[in-house]
C-alpha cells in the first residue's frame, strides 16, 4: 500500500488503513532503534527542517532523532532564533526555507490551521508537530502505537481522557484517530475546559466527573494542565484541580485491572498525576516517548513516498 498524502496535518484526514499503515511501519522501525548502530540509509540526501514556533523539547528532539536514524539531514529553527522576531510573516519564512529546497518541513505553531496555510504554499511535505488546539498527529499515533503494543488491537478499547480538553490538540488527535480505529473515548474535565460539541467529534462521551470516565477504562490518558494557557478564569487553584481531576492510586483502581496510564508530557507531578501513578507499574509514559521516535520515523518515511518499511 502506498501512502498518498504529501503532508500529514491531522489524523482527521487519514483513513483507518492509512493509520494502520503508519503504525505497522512504526512497529517495523522498532528493530532499528534496538540496534547498536541505529541508522538506516532510507532518507539519505533528504533534508528535514524542524520549524518550531513554540517551545518544545520532547517533540522536536524526537523528530530530529527520527530523521537522523533514517539518515536525513536535519536543521532546527526555533522561534527565538528565527525571523519571527524580525516581523517576517509565516508565508515569507516558509518561502525562504523552501528556496533552500528542503524535502520535509516539520512545523509546530501556536495558531490552529497554520499547517493548512503552510501546506497550500509550499511544494515540499509538511508534517504537523502541533498546531494550536487543533491537532498533534504524531502524538495521536504514538499513543495508539503504545495502546496497540499492550492490547494488540485498537478496536473496542475504552479510553478515558482527563483534563483541559478545550486547549488540547492531543485530545483532538486521539479522538479522531481512536474513533477511526473503533475505540470509545470518555472525556472528563472541568466544564470550563470542555468545548461545545466535542461529543460530535467522534465516538465520544462527556462524563460528569472523572470517576465516571475512568471506571472500567482500558486506558487513562491524563492531559497536562498548563496554567499559561488556562489563564486565571478557568480554575481556582491547582490544589483543587488536583483533588477533582488528578489521577491518584484510588481513582486508578476504578479502571480495568492493568489499565494503562498515559500522559503526553511533560507531567506536573502532584497536579494531574500523582508520582505513585506516574512511576507505578501501570505507567506507560516512557514507553510513549520511545514509541514517539518510531511513529515519527514512519511519518517521515511515508511522506517521502516510501512503501511499507522492511529494513
Amino acid at each position: 500500500m502506498q501512502f498518498k498524502h504529501k503532508d500529514i496535518i491531522g489524523l482527521q484526514d487519514l483513513t483507518k488503513e492509512e493509520i494502520q499503515l503508519l503504525l505497522d511501519t512504526a512497529e517495523n522501525m522498532r528493530e532499528i532503534n534496538d540496534r547498536e548502530i541505529k541508522k538506516v540509509p532510507t532518507l539519505r540526501g533528504k533534508t528535514v527542517v524542524n520549524l518550531f514556533f513554540e517551545a518544545s523539547t520532547r517533540t522536536r528532539t524526537s523528530f530530529e532523532i527520527a530523521a537522523k536514524r533514517l539518515s536525513a539531514d536535519t536543521v532546527n529553527i526555533t522561534a527565538s532564533s528565527s525571523s519571527v522576531t524580525k516581523g517576517e510573516t509565516l508565508s515569507d519564512t516558509a518561502r525562504n526555507i523552501l528556496a533552500m529546497k528542503p524535502d520535509i518541513i516539520v512545523m509546530r505553531h501556536a495558531v490552529s490551521g497554520s499547517h493548512h496555510y503552510l501546506a497550500q504554499r509550499v511544494s515540499c511535505s509538511v508534517i504537523n508537530a502541533g498546531d494550536g488546539a487543533h491537532e498533534h498527529p504524531s502524538q495521536g499515533l504514538l499513543d495508539m502505537l503504545t495502546m496497540r503494543q499492550k492490547f494488540g488491537r485498537l478496536d473496542g478499547l475504552k479510553v478515558a481522557i482527563v483534563g483541559d480538553i478545550t486547549h488540547s490538540r492531543v485530545a483532538r488527535s486521539n479522538i479522531f484517530g481512536l474513533t477511526r480505529m473503533g475505540s470509545q473515548i470518555f472525556l472528563a474535565g472541568p466544564p470550563t475546559m470542555m468545548p461545545p460539541g466535542i461529543e460530535r467529534l467522534g465516538n465520544v462521551t462527556v462524563c460528569k466527573d472523572m470517576r465516571e470516565a475512568v471506571e472500567g477504562a482500558d486506558v487513562v490518558m491524563m492531559l497536562r494542565i498548563q496554567l499559561e494557557r488556562q489563564g486565571k478564569t478557568l480554575l481556582p487553584t491547582l490544589r483543587e484541580y488536583s483533588r477533582y481531576y488528578g489521577l491518584n492510586p484510588a481513582v486508578l483502581k476504578l479502571a480495568r485491572p492493568g489499565a494503562m496510564v498515559m500522559h503526553p508530557g511533560p507531567i506536573n507531578r502532584g497536579v494531574e498525576l500523582s508520582s505513585y501513578v506516574a512511576d507505578g507499574d501501570q505507567s506507560w509514559i516512557l514507553q510513549q516517548v520511545e514509541n514517539g521516535v518510531l511513529v515519527r520515523m514512519a511519518m517521515l518515511y511515508h511522506v517521502s513516498g516510501g512503501e511499507l518499511a522492511t529494513e
Binding site: 508565508s91 495558531v111 497554520s114 496555510y117 494550536g132 488546539a133 487543533h134 461545545p196 467529534l201
Partner: protein, 425 residues
C-alpha cells in the same frame, strides 16, 4: 441631462407603489411618475423592461477607509464599488485615521466625496473622542458639518454610564447613536463563533452571549434614556429576540444585519478561510434562520453590508492574525434578492430595508421616488447571472468569502441625482 426610465416594475415602499410605471427625471429630480410617459426633447431613455426600479439603495454601514487607510479603500474606489452594487448612498463609519470625531475630518470626507465620489456619502461621526470610549465627541459640531449619526463602530462603548450619557446627549443634538454591541470580556481571544466548528478546528470561540449581553444592555439604556438607538450588524437568535421584545414595549430601537449573516454559517471558516473571519463572527444555521425571521417580521429594519476592506497582506496570514471584516457592496444586492427567490421576503419588504428604512432611521432626504425628490434610482435586473471574480470587483480590496460564487441579480443602472453613474455590462 434628463432621463426617462421606461417600462420597469417600480417598487417604492415609501409611497406603497408596486406597478409598471415610467419615471421622468428632470434636472436631477423626480419630475413625474406614471404610465406611458413621453420623453421630452433631448431626454435619454433608459430601458427598464424586465427590471425592478427602486429608490436608490442606501447602505448605512460601510468603511471607506479614507482618510488614512487608503491602501485598503478610498472614497473613489469605495463609491465606485457602491455604484456597481446598486447603492446611491453610503454611510461611512468613523474608524479612519484620524478617527472622524471632529468636524474637520467630517468636512474632508464630504468635500472629497462631492469632488471625486460617484455616490452620496453620509459620514458617521464617533460617539467618543478617538473612539476610545473615554469622553464624548463633539456631536453637535459633527452634525452641523454633515454627520448623520454617531458610532464607535469596531468597538463597543465599554463603560455603561458613558453609553447612557452618549444616548442622552445625542438625543439633545438630534443625532442617532449606532452601537456596536459586544461584551469584550466574553470575546477574549476568540476568533470565530463558539460551537462545534470552533471545537473541531481548535480555534478560540466567541459565544453568542458576547453579542446578546451587550445588545440587552444597550436596549435597556435606550429605554432608560428614552432615546433612539440603532444596533449595528446583529447576528444572533438572541439579539433578534431581545430587539423584538424591546420594540413590542415601545423602546425606540432599530437594527440592521448584513448579507453574510443570512447567507453563511460558521462552516465557511472550515479550511481556515480568513475571508470568513469578521466581527461579529458567522454563526450557526439556527441563527441564520432567526435573522431571516427577524427580517420577515420587521424586527430587523435594514440590510447593511459592513463593507470592511482589508489589504491582502492583512488577510493572507494565519487565521488568528487575520483582521476582521469582508467587503460587501458588490454582493449585497444579489444575496439579498436571494431572500426573495427563497420566499423569505417579498420585493417590497426587501426594498424597504435597503431604501426607505435606512433613510428614515438616519433622517436622510432619500429612499423615495416621490415627485420632487432627488433622483437617486436603482434599476435592478433580477435575472442577471454573473460570477463574483476578484479582478472584476471595483473595491480596492478583494476580501470576500463570495469570490467564485454564482450570483443572480444585480444593478443594471445606478442613477445618482439624475446621473447614470453605473451601467451594467
Amino acid at each position: 441631462m434628463n432621463l426617462l426610465i421606461k417600462g420597469g416594475r417600480v417598487i417604492d415602499p415609501s409611497q406603497n407603489i408596486d406597478d409598471l410605471l415610467d419615471i421622468l427625471i428632470v434636472d436631477g429630480k423626480i419630475a413625474d411618475l406614471g404610465k406611458n410617459l413621453k420623453a421630452p426633447a433631448g431626454a435619454e431613455t433608459v430601458d427598464a423592461a424586465g427590471c425592478l426600479v427602486t429608490p436608490g439603495l442606501i447602505d448605512m454601514h460601510v468603511h471607506l477607509r479614507d482618510p488614512g487607510l487608503e491602501y485598503k479603500e478610498d472614497i473613489v474606489t469605495g463609491t465606485r464599488a457602491a455604484a456597481a452594487g446598486g447603492f446611491t448612498s453610503v454611510c461611512c463609519m468613523p474608524n479612519t485615521k484620524p478617527v472622524n470625531d471632529n468636524k474637520a475630518v467630517t468636512s474632508y470626507i464630504i468635500n472629497k466625496a462631492k469632488a471625486e465620489g460617484l455616490v452620496n456619502v453620509f459620514p458617521i461621526g464617533a460617539i467618543t473622542q478617538g473612539s476610545k470610549g473615554e469622553s464624548l465627541a463633539e456631536m453637535g459640531d459633527m452634525k452641523e458639518a454633515g454627520c448623520v449619526a454617531v458610532s464607535d463602530d469596531g468597538r463597543p462603548v465599554v463603560n455603561a454610564e458613558l453609553m447612557r450619557r452618549a444616548l442622552e446627549y445625542a438625543k439633545g443634538m438630534g443625532i442617532m447613536v449606532i452601537t456596536h454591541s459586544e461584551e469584550l470580556s466574553l470575546v477574549g481571544e476568540g476568533v470565530m463563533n463558539e460551537g462545534f466548528t470552533s471545537t473541531e478546528l481548535g480555534l478560540k470561540g466567541i459565544p453568542w452571549a458576547a453579542e446578546d449581553v451587550a445588545v440587552a444592555r444597550d436596549v435597556y439604556l435606550a429605554e432608560l434614556t428614552d432615546s433612539p438607538l440603532h444596533i449595528a450588524h446583529i447576528s444572533t437568535t438572541g439579539s433578534v429576540r431581545i430587539i423584538r421584545n424591546a420594540k413590542a414595549r415601545g423602546v425606540k430601537v432599530t437594527c440592521e444585519t448584513a448579507p453574510h449573516y443570512f447567507s453563511l454559517t460558521d462552516d465557511a471558516v472550515r479550511g481556515y478561510d480568513t475571508n470568513a473571519k469578521m466581527n461579529p463572527p458567522l454563526r450557526i444555521a439556527e441563527d441564520v434562520a432567526a435573522i431571516k425571521a427577524g427580517l420577515a417580521d420587521g424586527t430587523i429594519d435594514a440590510i447593511a453590508t459592513d463593507h470592511a476592506p482589508h489589504h491582502l497582506d492583512e488577510k493572507d496570514v494565519e487565521f488568528n492574525a487575520a483582521l476582521n471584516g469582508i467587503i460587501g457592496l458588490e454582493t449585497s444586492l444579489p444575496l439579498s434578492l436571494q431572500l426573495v427567490a427563497d420566499g423569505e421576503l417579498d420585493f417590497k419588504v426587501l426594498v424597504e430595508k435597503m431604501t426607505c428604512n435606512p433613510s428614515k432611521i438616519l433622517g436622510l432626504d432619500r429612499g423615495t421616488l416621490k415627485k420632487g425628490a432627488v433622483a437617486d434610482v436603482t434599476v435592478i435586473d433580477p435575472e442577471a447571472d454573473w460570477k463574483v471574480e476578484a479582478e472584476k470587483l471595483e473595491a480596492k480590496s478583494k476580501n470576500s468569502p463570495f469570490i467564485g460564487w454564482s450570483m443572480k441579480g444585480g444593478a443594471k443602472y445606478t442613477i445618482v441625482g439624475g446621473k447614470v453613474v453605473y451601467k451594467r455590462g
